[in-house]
């Protein structure tokens, strides 16, 4: 059976290049033309308009406005600024101490870095700082005076004072070991005295008479008062019953006394 032409199916979305422009296409074309004829592409957010402006700027670039030119100049570092930046970068890169001749920005950057990530002091630098600080103190301080200070403060002398004594002793060529031994003796005497005083207090407190409100504890004692007549044969268990009962009462009393309820 032969298929007839009338029976051929044409899809609804068939795009015919020769078909006349629709009304929607005409309106879009007009908007693009109006945009390109305008002074600038600002305010045209459609992708077609942006593409059209980019193509025209590449093909036929226009002149910059005064504001645009100034903005470009502000964003570009000057030669002087570039030189200062290089100097600062180099000063920070080799981690050297800033020189007096360095720019103030170098000193400032170094201070910022020291505050944020301080580096360790070497022994010589540490000693120099201590010496500089001690040089401001009175130079008449000696080991003896430090010992007196320690004694006065009851061994509360900080290590810094002792170190100070050693430093001064070294400087003054005084035999520091003897001074230190004196400090140890004084410290020992104070400690021994303190312990002796504490032990004496313990002795006084523990040997003090019982307080008035405390009942004395029932002591172990003979059970003779529990029996008023000589023992008779066959009553041994009765006696132990009596003894145990009497002492159980004493025991309860003692427990109450120790608990402080009497």
């Amino acid at each position: 059976m032969v298929e007839r032409d009338d029976d051929r199916h044409v899809p609804d979305d068939f795009d015919d290049p020769d078909a006349p422009a629709s009304a929607e296409e005409v309106a879009a074309s007009k908007r693009l033309r109006d945009a390109l004829e305008g002074a600038s592409g600002e305010g045209h957010a459609t992708p077609e308009a942006e593409l059209a402006f980019a193509l025209r700027a590449a093909w036929e670039p226009g002149s910059l406005s005064v504001d645009e030119s100034r903005a470009v100049l502000d964003a570009t570092p000057s030669a002087e600024e570039q030189a200062l930046a290089s100097l600062l970068r180099d000063a920070l890169a080799d981690r050297r101490e800033p020189r007096e001749s360095d720019n103030a920005a170098v000193h400032f950057a170094h201070a910022l870095r020291a505050a944020f990530a301080p580096s360790e002091l070497d022994a010589a630098e540490h000693r120099a700082i201590i010496d500089a600080a001690l040089a401001k103190m009175p130079t008449q301080v000696s080991g003896e005076s430090v010992a007196k200070t320690a004694a006065k403060n009851e061994l509360a002398a900080p290590q810094a004072i002792l170190d100070r004594a050693k430093t001064v002793d070294d400087k003054d060529n005084v035999v520091s070991l003897r001074r230190r031994a004196t400090v140890v003796r004084v410290a020992f005497g104070i400690v021994a005295g303190g312990l002796a005083l504490a032990a004496s207090i313990v002795f006084v407190v523990t040997s003090a008479p019982m307080r008035e409100h405390e009942a004395p504890l029932a002591k172990a004692r003979t059970t003779a008062p529990l029996f008023s007549e000589p023992f008779k044969p066959g009553e041994t268990s009765a006696r132990i019953d009596r003894i145990a009962s009497a002492r159980a009462s004493d025991f309860r009393d003692n427990r109450f006394t120790k608990w402080g309820v009497r």
Binding site: T182, R185, F188, G189, A192, G193, L195, A196, L197, A198, A199, S200, V202, F203, T206, S207, L217, A218, K219, A220, R221, T222, T223, A224, F227, S228, E229, P230, F231, P233, T236, S237, R239, I240, D241, I243, A244, R247, A248, D250, F251, N254
Partner: protein
């Protein structure tokens, strides 16, 4: 005074003070009276239990069982061995007296006398406990005299009888002392 002398003086003072403080600390050994405490009560409870156990065995006719109960009591551990508690000593003396009586009933005179001797070591003062022990000792000698007489040993029987009389006379003296002491404490004549 040299520094060395000062150091030695301070050290000596410290040692003396620490020794004094230690000696004054509760719990340290002191020759004072011991209070009625858990240890003493535990001993008394154990003694009571063993005495009643001996009662039950005696009532059942088991004299050796009763003897065994008393033998356990006299060797049990004592509270405060470093400081004698009078109750403990008296209970032990009474246990020895009962042990001697039980052995006497069984006819074991020498072991009975040995028990009396052990009991007397716990009570040296004139008390009912010591009087009772000496009384049992007199009864043992009386029984010994009877045994010797039955055996035809008249001379030894007479000596045992005399010994028994002496012991029983001593009992009278002890009890008189106890009574006089008791009356004196009560404010009597």
């Amino acid at each position: 005074m040299t520094r060395r002398s000062m150091s030695l003086l301070a050290l000596s003072t410290l040692m003396l003070a620490l020794a004094g403080g230690f000696a004054a600390t509760p719990g340290c050994s002191r020759q004072d009276d011991v209070a009625v405490d858990t240890q003493i009560m535990a001993f008394l409870s154990e003694a009571r239990a063993l005495h009643h156990q001996a009662n039950i065995k005696e009532e059942a006719g088991d004299v050796p069982g009763a003897i065994a109960a008393m033998e356990r009591l006299v060797v049990t551990s004592r509270p405060h061995p470093e400081r004698k508690a009078p109750e403990v000593e008296e209970v032990l003396a009474d246990a020895y007296a009962r042990l001697a009586e039980l052995r006497l009933r069984k006819g074991d005179l020498d072991p009975a006398a040995t028990a009396v001797k052990g009991g007397l070591e716990h009570v040296t003062e004139p008390t009912y406990f010591r009087g009772h022990l000496v009384e049992v000792q007199g009864l043992i000698e009386e029984a010994r005299a009877a045994q010797l007489a039955d055996a035809g040993n008249t001379a030894e029987a007479a000596r045992a009888r005399e010994h028994a009389i002496q012991l029983l006379e001593e009992v009278v003296k002890i009890q008189d002392q106890v009574i006089k002491s008791s009356l004196g404490k009560d404010g009597g004549p």
